[in-house]
């Protein structure tokens, strides 16, 4: 299947790949917090999605872009680690074979907010069926979703919910997935991918 190089370019805007492994074990940092540097080895595949370095992009006409994205995400992984006190961290991009569905994945050995926080909205005042943004839970996974405006009293249409972020966390690990493409319209599917990554890492 021919891979459109414009879809490869999407990754240059800050999506992700190529994990950088940071470190070795638990260390005490300068603020007195224990930092887990145990390396993170993201799986080569999650659901139907391949880790970006496993995708054959030779037919795209721009295989150089894949290498650029791999390098960028190695640097992003270092920045993510710095943001969490030096904990092991990985920024990865996964994609379907034609690159039309992509998952930007961030994994780090530190806790994060759970459930994810979204501010309160008085949507009923605007006669809407749902707030424009809400947090939904799927088992252990919390998702922030954007809801298309639906008048109060009407059922939201199919595919009217778009996933911004799904996250699962413990005191020692966080897995975050940001979907690109139609997959975003199915938060439960995105949440299942978070669980798959979680099970592959812990």
């Amino acid at each position: 299947m021919r891979v459109p190089w414009a879809l490869l370019m999407a990754g240059l805007g800050g999506l992700a790949t190529a994990g950088v492994v940071v470190g070795g074990a638990w260390v005490l940092n300068t603020t007195g917090t224990y930092i887990d540097k145990q390396p993170i080895d993201p799986p080569a595949r999650v659901g139907a999605y391949l880790r970006y370095d496993k995708i054959d992009v030779r037919s795209s006409g721009r295989p150089d872009i894949q290498q650029k994205i791999l390098e960028q995400n190695a640097k992003s992984s270092e920045l993510l680690s710095q943001a969490h006190g030096g904990a092991a961290a990985v920024v990865q991009l996964y994609a379907g074979r034609d690159l039309r569905q992509q998952l930007s994945v961030q994994i780090y050995r530190a806790p994060s907010a759970h459930p994810l926080y979204v501010p309160y909205e008085d949507y009923q005042r605007y006669r809407l069926a749902k707030p424009t943004q809400s947090a939904e839970e799927f088992g252990e996974v919390s998702c922030v979703v954007r809801n298309d405006p639906t008048p109060a009293g009407q059922p939201p249409g199919p595919n009217g919910t778009h996933t911004s972020l799904c996250s699962r966390t413990s005191k020692a690990l966080t897995v975050e997935v940001r979907p690109v493409g139609d997959l975003a319209d199915q938060p439960d599917d995105v949440a299942a991918l978070v669980d798959s990554l979680w099970n592959a890492i812990t």
Binding site: G14, Q72, D122
Partner: protein, 141 residues
């Protein structure tokens, strides 16, 4: 400000504070909306007794790949505060114009407390917002 508007704003602050606390395991939390007298300049202040990312994280982007002088999003440090900054696109080789960098969010965090300010409307330099974060930090820590 009309009374119903004040009441609605206060209710939103209370409900958002409750959610914020829940997101951090029941830790003490505050969501507050600040505005100037003309309501032209607004800030959302979030504080919770828990740690968060520091510095803030944005994925690495090489501006050369996009033909820009700077990435569209950067993280800048002002003392103990880190700010997520939105940069107006400036072609490579040119100097970004004054006022072309705006704070999207500024945050200060320790192992036990986080203070974040998100400007809503108005033109706020990252440095200005960082100073406000320090001011809130000093009053709640």
């Amino acid at each position: 400000m009309a009374k119903p508007v004040v009441e609605r704003t206060l209710k939103a602050m209370q409900e958002s504070t409750k959610r914020l606390s829940e997101s951090h395991g029941g830790a003490g939390a505050l969501f507050a909306h600040y505005a100037d007298n003309k309501l032209e300049s607004n800030f959302m202040v979030v504080a919770y007794r828990d740690r968060s990312a520091d510095p803030l994280f944005v994925p690495y982007v090489n501006p050369d790949d996009l033909g820009l002088a700077k990435p569209q999003q950067t993280v800048e440090r002002y003392g103990s505060v880190s700010c997520l900054v939105m940069n107006d696109p400036t072609p490579q080789g040119q100097t970004p114009a004054a006022g072309s960098a705006r704070a999207a969010k500024c945050s200060r965090s320790s192992g036990a407390l986080t203070v974040e300010i998100t400007p809503d409307g108005g033109d706020h330099s990252p440095k200005q917002v960082a100073e406000l974060v320090d001011e809130v930090w000093a009053s709640v820590s």
